[in-house]
């Protein structure tokens, strides 16, 4: 699971108000190289919750990969694009869990697939 997917997910348990961003417990992280598309990165940047991405990269063992704050002017820098690309698209959580920020409920990740199914009493 890429951090781009993490950036879209939230805890949807009944009663939870702030289910975003989910915490990440990463037990196994892998990196897979993919081609960098500056055009894609520039288009997606304004839609990304930056704080969630930074926290995600930190949880995956890369605390210094991204700057704590970012604005669109940084997209002119190749170094920034490479870091953004790596965090968003190359790092994957293979095993671990996503954690609801409000209730602490864990959503396990196995073979890269998070189990977001809710129990009956959570719907």
């Amino acid at each position: 699971m890429r951090l781009l997917t993490h950036n879209m997910l939230s805890s949807n348990i009944r009663g939870v108000v702030n289910g975003f961003p989910l915490g990440i417990e990463a037990e196994k992280v892998v990196e897979r190289e993919v081609e960098l598309s500056a055009e894609f990165l520039r288009g997606v940047f304004p839609k990304i919750e930056w704080g969630a991405l930074v926290a995600g990269a930190r949880a995956l063992g890369h605390p210094d990969l991204l700057p704590g704050e970012a604005d669109a002017s940084m997209l002119a820098s190749d170094d920034f694009l490479r870091r953004f690309h790596r965090a968003l698209l190359q790092l994957h959580v293979e095993e671990g869990a996503l954690v609801c920020p409000e209730t602490g409920r864990r959503f396990p990740i196995n073979k890269g697939i998070p189990n977001m199914l809710l129990h009956e009493d959570e719907v």
Partner: protein, 205 residues
Amino acid sequence: MKLKHLEGLLGDLQQFSNPKVELEQYPTGPHIASRMIYTAENSFDDISGKVVADFGCGCGTLGVASSLLGAEHVVGIDIDPQSLEIASQNAEDLEVGINFIWSDIKNLKLRGPLVDTVVMNPPFGTRKKGSDMEFLCMALKVASRAVYSLHKTTTREHIKRTALRDYGAKSAEVLCELRFDVPQLYKFHKKKEVDVAVDLWRFVP
């Protein structure tokens, strides 16, 4: 990539090994799947370089096709873990990177603006009435660019009206009518193959 080539690649994908009746698990065949995604890409520019979500991805045909046609990121969502396992294997075999999420579409909250395009072959609602509409409602909430979906031709007017009036779609257009062979996966199907007329829709959210 040429249409024929895409169809050929999809033809090699593994399909449901033990289809579950209640989830309406029949494969989106390579003929239909390739035309659907090929049209989305070549007529509307909705696939390459985009973030695509495949709702009820089953064995992943539509998501894999989107990846093959250049989607930057694909997320496949299904409620059934066995299907997701087959879908991951299919993605691996064709060397496309897809993210899968195990979830009930009804209970998943995906942050909208990140997903450009939703592609889906939802349950037709023959087992659980209204499940096709639940999928469509969610898809129109999540997609920011377009939704491609298959629905039974008999429901055409209902779909159009509901999408435009209740789900806030800006447009709802039938791109073509196709024959969908639902193979005799299930005992209650008397004939070998049940041939259903389905519409390929494009909705703009």
